[in-house]
Amino acid sequence: MAGAKEIRTQIGSIKNTQKITRAMEMVAAAKMRKAQDRMLASRPYAEKMRQVIGHLSLAHPEQKHPFLERREVKAVGYIIISSDRGLCGGLNNNLFRALVKEVKALQEEEKGVKFCLVGNKAVAFFSRVGGQVLAQATQLGDVPHVEDLVGTVKVMLDAYLDGEVDEIRIAYNRFVNTMTQDPTVERLVPLPEPSEEEREKLKHHWDYIYEPDAREVLEDLLARYIESLVYQSVVENGACEQSARMVAMKAASDNAGSLIDELELVYNKARQAAITQEISEIVSGAAAV
């Protein structure tokens, strides 16, 4: 029964793997819920900021801030948000694939490309692929904080102000629902122009009193606004990571289950064959006597 024993150990090891994937699935499901809550919690902040910035930029059309001004794009900076850990299906790879396509197109037009990386997976990917990396932040954990991102964002914004890059884009996975994550690349800076409707609404609007002065307040606001957008993307990417991991681990557990079923069938057949053989040996032996 040598074959049968081998099959038994194989079933055992698959069962162990299944235990792990099932545990990971449950952990991911619990974390996903929390990550989704965080995602919703950070929305009001960005919304309020957008309103104030809208007011400010419309009230002071003569003061053009570089973040609001469009210029000819010679170099693009990417802030790339990825997860720190693997085992989450094709989440990071899908994003990188979309990104590489864009970057190639830019390089063909002979435009510069620079990166700021968030998350271990992006760091690992770009150390293999190459590219000019300005800054990186890793090990943000399950509860990312704005402070952890301030440095990375500032490097990019400084590069923009110095004219090293003329546009900043952010790449992350957008959370659609538990089953779907959407790899997204969006323009972060310059900020989109306010719509005609908003312009009309604010045309006859009062102006604020500024302390210390409008320019400084606007600068502060814009930096924080962009940080909050990046933070929002990081949180959203975190929710995507957990849900992708949950789905991937569920698939792995299911696969392990069907593999075990198949192997058990093979094992039972082998066992029965061995017993049948033994009986026929005994019977034929008895007949011979």
Binding site: Y45, G151, D220, R224
Partner: protein, 141 residues
């Protein structure tokens, strides 16, 4: 009933307070400001300190500690966008340097300056926190 103004206190990581207020006190960069309903529109930066909201109707004063941020005042609406951590220009610079350093994986020798900026900002925050605690204590008595 006394006049009230709608108050929202939000930080990037979540909403802290949303409700009515009869009077709001906030630590603006140019000195502490008190805002009553129908205040003229105002935007200013905040420094570390405590924000107090008197909800009115005999309810006790609400206290929040902010480590900086921006306050936007409209006649019937006050929004405070609070920072979640200690922020200062030098510190932001330090964080940027750190991120760069991580990317370059090289040792920078500028740690001295960074440490001082960090210590100063932390001290300012600690002092402000102490003051908030002190005020709370006095109120309890």
């Amino acid at each position: 009933m006394a006049m009230t103004v709608h108050v929202d206190i939000v930080s990037a990581e979540g909403e802290l307070y949303s409700g009515q207020g009869e009077m709001i006190y906030a630590p603006a960069v140019m000195g502490e400001i008190g805002i009553a309903p129908r205040h003229a529109p105002l935007v200013t930066r905040l420094k570390p300190g405590d924000v107090r909201v008197a909800p009115g109707g005999g309810k006790p004063m609400e206290h929040f500690y902010v480590s900086g941020g921006i306050i936007e005042v409209q006649p019937f609406r006050v929004t405070i966008m609070a920072d979640t951590g200690v922020r200062a220009a030098d510190l932001d610079e330090a964080a940027a340097l750190e991120a760069k350093k991580r990317a370059e994986e090289a040792l920078a020798n500028k740690t001295g300056e960074m440490e001082v900026a960090r210590a100063q900002a932390e001290l300012a925050e600690a002092v402000a926190q102490l003051q908030t605690i002190e005020k709370l204590r006095k109120m309890k008595k």
